[in-house]
Structure formats: structure tokens, C-alpha cells
């Protein structure tokens, strides 16, 4: 893996990521909640000390593996005051007052969880229609504004925190895809030779990939920050929006840079590049990435985004990353 930080702290990420990568490889048909519980992921999420590494490893790994799994729903469960998920699919606000969600690829969901800044509501799954996407392997579930009329509030849920968790779960996947594309591009330009040398020796090619590295590093910083703040109702919403914004940007920069350095071969169906592009476009659509800058601008006017002081200041002594 390409290292984009000063030193790798021993926070468990590497080990969890190795397990995640293996899991997604062994279960291409989908990873279920039982699998997650088996390797202890749900327990790690409950502990603030392990939650950050566990979430990053899972969702970045999931992005890199292009895997569909009910992991965002498992991640947001902690904000639902004991509500029984039972295979529900989290739905985010879409255009025109409706909601969109990404099913996990497993059994048909029985329920939908409509998550927005003000509420978390439950709706039977039969209210949803399927929406085809640019990604042939993926259909989104869509619920129109009218169809949400009889949605029932989830008692005791924390909407801002729930929404932040789903957003961060998706922005981590975008970042994981970006990191994967950076490696893909880098490995390609080291081996592809033209004019008597690997094309990675040319400055134009180098600089394209360097910009991808910068964008991925920025997204990493924002994702970690959002995870640090994920339980803070005052800060989590904006932190999550910033993570969505920088994750969106990292994905856009990575797909542009990787596409360019891969050249014609990356444009073929045979090459894996397009699978990342398609999936990322779908996740961006789900997140409402197209107007993320305006949403951040409006939200930033009234709140702050950096973590509670003590957490950060303490970490100076430990020399930990962020």
C-alpha cells in the first residue's frame, strides 16, 4: 500500500484490513451481519478506542473490493436506540424529497430506514422501486416523497448522528476506491514503457498521480476527523459533510488521474478501472455529491468542524497520527 502519512501507528488498522480484504474476497456474493460479528467488527465499533480503525479498515476495504454489504446499516445501528435492523436498508435524501438507498446484495430487505438531518423513519420495503444505475451490478432503491407519508419515526434515534454515520461509511468507501486507483495507476506507469522507459518517468504522468495522492490524503484526514467526532451532535454533521466533500474530490481526482495514465487500455471493458468509476458514481449520487460544496458552505457558516480540543491535544504526547 502506498503510505500517505508520516508513520503507521499501531492502531489495529493493518490487521483488521487484512481480515476485511480476505472476507470480501472469500464472499463475493456478499458479506452478512453474522460474518461481521464473527470476526468481532461489531464489538470493535462499540469501543471508541477501536472504532476508528475498524470503520476505516472495513469501509476502505469494501470500497477497494467493490463489495456490497450491509455495513453502513450496522455502523449506524448505534444511533438507533436499540431499533432492530433486521436487514433494513439505509436510505438518504435524494432529489425531489424522495430517498435513495443501496441494497447490500443479500436477501431482499424487509424495511427501509429513511435517514436525514431531522429524522430517522422506518418504512416497509415494498414502497420502494428499483432504479437502474450506470453500474450493471447495482440497482438502487428509490422511494418518492409521497410514498414516505406513512413512514414511522424510530423512537429515540439521533438523526444527525445517524446521517453522519451513513455519510462517513460511504465517503470512506470513496476514499478506499481512490487509494486503490492510485495504486492501480502507479503500478501501471511503472511497467508500461514508451519512448524507451516506463512512462512513470515522465513528469506529466508523475504529477497527475501526485495530485491523486494529495486528494486521497486530504480525504483520509477528513474521514478520520469525522470518525473522531461521530458521537458529537454539535460537530458530527459538518464533519461528515466535509468528509463527503473531500471524499468526492478524492474520487474525482483519482478517476481522472488513473483514467489518464492508464490510457486506452483503461477505457476497455476488460480492464477493472470502469468498475470503480461506475460504483463511485453511484455512491456519489447517493451522497448528493454534486452540490456538496454548497451544502458545506451553508453548514460551515454556523458551526465548527474540528474535534474537541482535549482529544487532539492529548495526542501530541502519544505522537499519534491525527
Amino acid at each position: 500500500m502506498i503510505r500517505l502519512e508520516h508513520s503507521i501507528p499501531d492502531d489495529g488498522y493493518a490487521e483488521i484490513r487484512a481480515t476485511v480484504d480476505r472476507l470480501f474476497q472469500e464472499r463475493p456474493q456478499g458479506v452478512g451481519v453474522a460474518d461481521l460479528e464473527d470476526f468481532g467488527w461489531t464489538e470493535m465499533l462499540d469501543d471508541p478506542d477501536t472504532r476508528g480503525a475498524a470503520a476505516r479498515a472495513m469501509f476502505e476495504g469494501q470500497g477497494s473490493a467493490l463489495a456490497l454489504a450491509g455495513t453502513p446499516e450496522t455502523f449506524l445501528a448505534a444511533t438507533l436506540a436499540g431499533f432492530e435492523l433486521d436487514g433494513a436498508v439505509a436510505m438518504l435524501p435524494g432529489p425531489d424529497g424522495g430517498y435513495l438507498g443501496l441494497p447490500s446484495g443479500g436477501a431482499d430487505p424487509a424495511r427501509l430506514l429513511l435517514v436525514d438531518a431531522a429524522s430517522v423513519r422506518s418504512l416497509p420495503a415494498d414502497r420502494a422501486t428499483q432504479v437502474h444505475t450506470v453500474d450493471p451490478g447495482v440497482s438502487l432503491l428509490s422511494v418518492s416523497a409521497e410514498a414516505t407519508a406513512d413512514a414511522t419515526p424510530v423512537t429515540g434515534a439521533a438523526p444527525g448522528l445517524a446521517l453522519a454515520r451513513v455519510q462517513v461509511a460511504l465517503s470512506l468507501q470513496l476514499a478506499g476506491m481512490g487509494a486503490h486507483l492510485l495504486e492501480l495507476g502507479r503500478d501501471h506507469v511503472r511497467t508500461r514503457e514508451q519512448f524507451g522507459r516506463p512512462i512513470g518517468r515522465f513528469q506529466a504522468v508523475q504529477h497527475l498521480l501526485a495530485e491523486v495522492a494529495v486528494a486521497v490524503a486530504a480525504a483520509d484526514a477528513a474521514n478520520r476527523n469525522a470518525l473522531d467526532l461521530i458521537d458529537d451532535p454539535g460537530s458530527a454533521p459538518l464533519a461528515a459533510l466535509v468528509a463527503v466533500g473531500l471524499g468526492t474530490r478524492a474520487f474525482d481526482t483519482a478517476t481522472r488521474g488513473a483514467q489518464q495514465v492508464l490510457g486506452a487500455i483503461g477505457y476497455t471493458r476488460e480492464h477493472e478501472f470502469h468498475r470503480y468509476l461506475y460504483r463511485g458514481l453511484v455512491l456519489q449520487h447517493l451522497l448528493g455529491s454534486r452540490d456538496i460544496d454548497a451544502r458545506v458552505g451553508a453548514a460551515a457558516a454556523s458551526t465548527a468542524v474540528t474535534p474537541p480540543v482535549a482529544t487532539w491535544y492529548d495526542r501530541f504526547e502519544e505522537g499519534l497520527h491525527l
Binding site: E5, Q203, L209, S302
Partner: protein, 377 residues
């Protein structure tokens, strides 16, 4: 937009109490420090603000006691810069040099550090760096200013350029060639030269932001004792690399606070522009804090700071372009602060050039992080 600061609740409260009692003075000195002015006048304003903040205790905190501080604490210094920024008090730009030179001297020449640093920390002295030359900008390793052995120490001859705040500086950290002409980075050494040594001549350079940010320095057989050498003979490149980490790391932190302040002061409107610029500054803020932690723990990795520098030049551009779109600098509309805004915008255009150009940073990332290019390991 409220500012969430790095400082602890106790420190924040103490600062707020102090500020309430000293607001007028702080504002006056801060405005003077931000006013575009010729080199020596500008430098004097920085030193006035720095020495006042030092006497009030704020710029003494976090420096080793040997240099007149309260005890070495990078996090505490970073927290105070954040508090100042959130209160719209300028951190004098002379502090940039303290943050670059002090850790470097501590690391490579602790005796010199103890001997020389106190007045720098206190704002009684201002120093500069002599690295770039007319023929050695991006290709710093090709520099030609020569340091030749003498009985008493060294004789330095040559020329430096683009030395920030050199006119009026008391001392200069000069990177000179002690090896053969072809030795490139392997034949360099760093020296602390007093600017009033016979043979040193310094001239300000008029720049397009209507100030004199840089100077050029001529060295004509300047006598420097060997105990002013920082690090090993021919070991200057390693010293310079370490120095650059602090330059790119701490300077990024100092700038993020100022840029957040600029965003705060913009009138509402253009949410998308504000949101994009805000993300750029927050990315810089989060990334540079991670770098400071690594520097404080002695676990920093030079090439990684190139990422910070690129995030910095991006944030400078997006905030200043937004500010310019909101309140154009092209014409003097008679509103107060036009001269400051004009200067700020024009100066921001040098951000992707100074401290190692964006092109150099990308090349460092490509070679040393992505392992591309001939020099890759």
C-alpha cells in the same frame, strides 16, 4: 462561523480573560503588523507585536526554558497560534522563522541554540535564511555560494536571493558549498552568519504585491567562526531537509488559522465557493496537525510534508480567489482595507512558488512516496 480551537478549555478561558483586558493593544499592534509596508518598517511591526505577545506570555509558552520559554511543547505553541487566529490577532510573520530555525538548531547545534535563541524567541531579533541563489532555485543542490576553510573558521563568498525578510535581519542561516563544485547536495554546510559581519550586504527586492517580502544578500569574503556551523561539514543537506519539514509543517498550521479567519470575515453569499474553500482549509488544518504531531514525536517523514505544502498552496488560492470574487481588488472602491486586501491577494499568488514550488512538491511525492522516477528506491 465559530472557531473550534486546539487549545484546552482552561487555556482558552485564560486567553479570553487576557484578551478582554488587552483587546485594544492587540488590535492596534496586529493591524500594524498586517499593514503592507517597505521591508524595515514591516519587520519592525512584526517585532513589536512579537515582543509584546512574548512579554504577555503567549509567545513564550511552549519554547524550551533554555531559550526563555516555559518548557518545550509543540502542541501548546500550535494551540496558541490557533487562539490568536480565532481572535483575529495576527501571528507576526517573524514567528515563522522561530518555528523553522529553533527546532533545527536544537537538533543540530544545541550549543548555538542555547547561546543565540533567546532574543529570537523574545522578538528582540529577527533572522532570515539564505538558501536560494539566482542560479539555484528549484535546483537548490546546485548552489554555488562557497565556504572555504580559514585559520579562524570559514570564509563565505557568494550570493543569496529570495530570502524572506532579510533586510533588517540580525542573522542568517546560510547554506553554502564546502565540497567540490560537482558535489551537489553532498557538499553543503549550514552556517549562522551575523548580518552585520563585514562583507555582508543586503538589498530589498520590490515585489508585485507592493511590499518587499524578499531580499538578496551578497557575501564577500565574510569571516564566520567554525562554532557557527550548524551540523556537520558537508552535512548541510540533512540539516536543510529537517528545516524544511518544520517550514512546510508549522507554516501550514500558522496559515490555516489565518485562512479560516479570512473565511470568517467574508460577507455571506456563494455557498459553493465558500464550501470548496472551507474544505481546502480544513484539509490543510487536519493534515498539518498530523504533521506537527509527527514532528513533535520525532517521527516525521520529509516527503510526506510535500502533501501539506500542496494543500497549503491550494487553500491559499481558493480562499484568496473567493475573497477577490467577493470583494474585487482590481479597483480601489474606497472601502477600508483595500490596500491590505490588494496585498493579500497579490502575495497569495506566490504561495505555489515559495518554499519549494508546487512542481517540486509533486516531483518529491512522485519519486519518494509513489516510488516513480530514476531516484526511486
Amino acid at each position: 462561523m465559530s472557531a473550534d480551537v486546539l487549545a484546552s478549555a482552561e487555556l482558552s478561558a485564560e486567553f479570553a480573560r487576557w484578551l478582554a483586558a488587552n483587546r485594544a493593544q492587540a488590535t492596534e499592534l496586529s493591524e500594524a503588523a498586517l499593514r503592507p509596508a517597505p521591508a524595515t518598517e514591516y519587520l519592525a511591526a512584526q517585532k513589536a507585536l512579537q515582543s509584546w505577545l512574548y512579554e504577555e506570555g503567549w509567545l513564550a509558552r511552549g519554547w524550551p526554558k533554555e531559550y526563555g520559554g516555559t518548557g518545550n511543547d509543540v502542541g501548546l505553541r500550535a494551540a496558541i497560534y490557533d487562539l490568536l487566529g480565532a481572535a483575529d490577532i495576527a501571528v507576526p510573520s517573524t514567528v515563522n522563522v522561530v518555528e523553522i530555525i529553533a527546532p533545527t538548531l536544537q537538533h543540530f547545534a544545541p550549543g548555538l541554540a542555547e547561546q543565540l535563541l533567546s532574543p529570537l524567541v523574545a522578538g528582540a531579533e529577527a533572522w532570515c535564511q539564505g538558501f536560494s541563489e539566482p542560479e539555484a532555485g528549484s535546483d537548490l543542490a546546485s548552489l554555488r555560494t562557497r565556504a572555504t576553510r580559514t585559520e579562524q573558521g570559514w570564509s563565505i563568498s557568494g550570493q543569496k536571493i529570495w530570502s524572506t525578510r532579510a533586510p533588517g535581519a540580525d542573522r542568517c542561516a546560510v547554506l553554502a558549498r564546502t565540497g567540490s563544485p560537482e558535489s551537489r547536495h553532498r557538499g553543503l554546510s549550514l552556517f549562522m552568519v551575523d548580518m552585520d559581519t563585514p562583507g555582508v550586504e543586503c538589498r530589498p527586492i520590490d515585489d508585485m504585491s507592493f511590499t518587499q517580502h524578499f531580499g538578496e544578500i551578497f557575501f564577500d569574503d565574510v569571516q564566520v567562526p567554525d562554532d557557527r556551523r550548524i551540523g556537520d561539514v558537508d552535512g548541510g543537506w540533512a540539516v536543510a531537509q529537517y528545516l524544511l519539514q518544520w517550514e512546510r509543517g508549522m507554516f501550514s498550521w500558522l496559515r490555516q488559522s489565518a485562512l479560516l479567519g479570512m473565511l470568517r470575515q467574508l460577507p455571506p453569499g456563494d455557498d459553493a465557493g465558500r464550501g470548496a474553500a472551507y474544505q481546502d482549509v480544513i484539509a490543510l488544518r487536519l493534515r498539518s496537525l498530523g504533521t506537527l504531531r509527527a514532528l513533535a514525536a520525532g517521527k516525521s517523514d520529509g516527503p510526506q510534508v510535500s502533501i501539506d505544502k500542496l494543500l497549503l498552496s491550494r487553500a491559499e488560492r481558493s480562499v484568496h480567489e473567493l475573497a477577490n470574487r467577493t470583494r474585487p481588488v482590481a479597483v480601489d472602491d474606497g472601502t477600508p482595507g483595500w490596500h491590505e486586501r490588494r496585498h493579500e491577494y497579490l502575495h497569495s499568488r506566490s504561495a505555489p512558488i515559495y518554499g519549494g514550488s508546487a512542481e517540486i512538491q509533486r516531483t518529491i511525492i512522485a519519486n519518494q512516496i509513489l516510488q516513480l522516477g530514476k531516484e526511486s528506491r
